[in-house]
């Protein structure tokens, strides 16, 4: 079964009384454990598509499935639970909580999860801190870290809940190209190791080359799909 299936999804916004069609009938399917990128220039609809897949927004029409769950009919509470248990997020600006240290940022979603013991929490946080190479910086706050280190914390936080799907919206956009490549390679390696499906957006050709599959999005339409 596909991890993500999108069927004829459209999304319209009203911006200053003008209707903007961000997505025009997008359909795609991503299989379990795939490392997929959505490529496109700024304004092509990449973030809108990731927001819809991540259940942060509702489509104007069409259907979205995460596993066998049809998400657009779910209640807010069910969506909260789906985001917590099934989806991990990595943001362009890292979006770490500034008052929490590395350990606490990674632990945060686990605290909201039911049935995760303190011991398991500790073990998962330590495991993922080691996986992203930040164990030595556990007590550091985000302001004391470099951009690359912050994004590594965000990756560990996204993975801590052991989600089926991780969505990353331009995860390398705020990083220099060397660090950007390192982050993508880290994500790819974890994707393989943890069998987690990754969907990330980028407009950087060097970054998109690392993906298993590339969906090219232009003006709200997928106009090309490339398998590597």
């Amino acid at each position: 079964m596909a991890t993500v299936a999108i069927k004829e999804v459209t999304k319209e916004y009203v911006l200053d009384k003008t209707k903007v069609q961000a997505l025009r009938g997008v359909s795609l399917q991503v299989e379990e454990g795939e490392f997929v990128t959505i490529a496109g220039s700024s304004g092509s609809g990449k973030s809108t598509l990731l927001n819809l897949i991540g259940c942060l927004d509702h489509p104007t029409s069409g259907q979205i499935f995460i596993g066998d769950t049809q998400v657009h009919t779910m209640t807010e509470k069910q969506l909260d639970s789906l985001r917590l248990n099934t989806i991990g997020f990595i943001f362009q600006s890292f979006n770490l909580i500034p008052v929490l240290n590395v350990y606490e940022n990674i632990e945060l979603p686990l605290l909201a999860m039911k049935g995760v013991s303190a011991e398991e929490r500790r073990s998962r946080v330590n495991y993922f801190m080691e996986a992203v190479g930040l164990k030595a910086l556990a007590k550091h706050k985000p302001s004391e870290l470099s951009g690359g280190q912050r994004q590594r914390v965000a990756i560990a936080r996204a993975l801590a809940t052991k989600p089926k799907l991780v969505l990353a919206d331009e995860p390398t956009a705020n990083l220099d190209s060397k660090t950007g490549i390192e982050i993508i390679e880290l994500m790819h390696e974890i994707s393989r190791r943890e069998k987690t499906t990754f969907i990330f957006s980028t407009h950087d050709p060097k970054v998109m080359q690392r993906a298993d599959r590339i969906f090219y999005l232009q003006d709200g339409v997928i106009n090309k799909e490339e398998k590597r």
Binding site: D57, N95, I97, E104, E107, L111
Partner: protein, 415 residues
Amino acid sequence: MKLFNLSFKNVLENPKRSMTLGFFIFLVSLLMVLSNSFFATVKNNLENALIDSFTGHYMVRASEGELFRTDVRWWESSYVQADQAAQVKQIIEQKLGATEVTARVRHNAMFSVGVQKQPSMIIGLDSSAKTYTKSFELVEGRHLTPGNPDELLLSEFQAKKLEVKVGDIIGVESVTKDGDPIEREMKVVGIGNMNYISNFRFPVAFMDLKSAQALVGLTNGEVSDLTVYLDDKSQAESAAQSLQAEMTAAGMSGTGLTITPFGKLGGFLMSTVSLYMSMFNGFIGLLMVIVAILIVNLLFMIGLERRQEIGTLRAIGISRMQNILIFMTEIYIICYVAALAGIALGGIIVKILSNFGLKAAAPLDYLLGREFFIQFDWMQLGSVMGVVMTLVFIASFWPCYRIASLKPVDTLKEI
């Protein structure tokens, strides 16, 4: 629970803002403790003074209505007959129990010494009367000697007006209930002040029952009332009801006697305290409104500043309710600590003042007494905490709900 670690950290992250809000909560709590203790003490003192000097814990009278009026007319339209008084006294003493049952006659009179004249209210007390001495603080002389006729206890104000001292003889003119003028000469045996209430336009003088009966023309031993004192003032209502039941059982239901607990008398005096309490509570209320506005503004500011954090929390699966709780916990930590500090400081001040009497000068002495011992009450501290925490809940829930209800996609889009 560990999720609220975030709330603790946010409180510490912005100490200036936390302290601004905390200061107002501290101030409200401190003022509430001080004002509540102060007014509770004033109310209690005044109530006790009224009970000791005028109303007793309950009173048996032949007429109804408010006893204390601003026009200082103090005679009754009808009187308790001697046999009725004896029967009621017997019922109380044998069946109900009381610390004191005093037969009294109240009337108005004119005191005169030479050309000096002073209108006055008089209370004639039978020989069992003792409780009045608690509230009548002597400046000079002694209290009444039980059974001695024509002795007079004057207030300091009356003595000054009449220019008399202990041992002087003064003329007491009155009009009997039948309209006949009457005059007696009486000896001033004591001069003093009625604690708390001497300045409430009640120039009261005490004398023995028989002299007062003579001034009213009560030739058959009638009295204005029987004043009953108990061990505990909280029992006044039920004791009055019990007496009513006993009197009915004894066939006294048609005698026209009414039983009035102290709570239904002296309303004019107590309303003065209530007025001051209302004014101060109004001030506290205003301060609470300001604090509520501050909390609402602070939370909306937090909402604006931390949109990214809110969006992130929602995106990673923290529910709306958990978000509300995180923000409310943040406010509650500040307010709880500040309220605790305010209540603790207020409690310490009240506790110290409860051990050391405060000397009150005019015009405050008429409310506080000459020496004022503020009362300390643990329960009151708890109620202040309850009120402050309720205020914080009312002021913070709606803005927290609004903040937590922001759509994650909107907050993340603006980053």
